[in-house]
Amino acid sequence: MNPHDSPVSRVLRDNPHVSLAYVDHQSNPPTLHITTEPTAQKNALALPDELQHHRLSIHISEPLKILIAHPGYETTPLNGHQHCQDPPIQLGCQVQPENANWVGTAGCPARWTNHGHDNWGFLTNWHVAAAGDKRVGRLIYQPDTSRPPIATLDTWKDVDPNKPNLIDAALCNSMLSEFHSTSELILEIGKPRYPFVDAQIGHNAIKSGRTTALTRGRCVAVGASARVGYGSFTAQFDDQDVYEGNAGSFSAAGDSGSLILHADTLKPTSLLFAGGGGTTIGNPIRHVAQALLLRFPFP
């Protein structure tokens, strides 16, 4: 099924106050989970026919938003993910793009083909590396613009506010001279294992990011539809993976771009890009790989 034609996608399109919708098919009867703004009323929901007989579970929560941070936003104590690194730079670290007043996470070692050439570097979000100045060659700094750049923006998929999306992703080439500045390792995790896998409800998850560093959680939903705030606009995403932390939040502002992995196998599952109200949203890595012509494994 086209994910943009799914019943939960239509729930978001028909209900502007709903920020997250997914179906738990493991319950009997299946349960439709909806997260909505505090002012919304249950009887105001417009549900497609396919979902009329589902059990309904409504959560009241703040809207979902992208997880970038101001460069001066520091955790206490400052974690190693915000420190300057000498090459080869381990990922899960803070990056700041040229002409931007925000920071995010360089999440995942990546290799891809662009115009017939192999490129090596890292995967992050479109809104971390490309938004505001979408230009091949845009400099990417680590940990911020006070240190020399480590990469250039190379490939991205625009987020469209006017139609449902699947990914918020960008690739940065880490070769600035004769060397690649970035490593194939992720801070506190090591080397991801391949092939990547689809997230599955209940699986243990792990991620390494700029603000909350190493956190553990679990996948609570797949195939979800989410409405995410980008500051100046909102965008809908379909067929998304949903995670919650085991102890505290799984993510926070500044963790956008982190790679989410299966905790037991260290195989990538999702690209973290949004969150709110204790929930973290990730693009399935299969959609990212397909759209950006990612090649695995990294050497």
């Binding site: 090596w120 600035l176 970035t182």
Partner: protein
């Protein structure tokens, strides 16, 4: 009639075939049995790019 040894961990196949082995009855089934191993090795080789040429981590200190 024939003895086939597959060393799957090393991604290679070694065959020891006695003189009377016939192609359809022995060698062909052995080759078919080994085919998935060769395909897997080929795919993994493609996936890794065959070599690590092109990825050159390092560079001067910057901190």
């Amino acid at each position: 009639m024939c003895k086939i040894t597959l060393e799957t961990n090393q991604m290679k196949a070694a065959t020891s075939i006695e003189p009377q082995a016939d192609f359809m009855g022995c060698l062909l089934p052995a080759l078919l049995q080994a085919l998935p191993i060769f395909i897997q090795a080929f795919v993994e080789c493609l996936g890794s790019g065959g070599t690590t040429t092109g990825y050159n981590p390092g560079g001067p200190k910057r901190c």
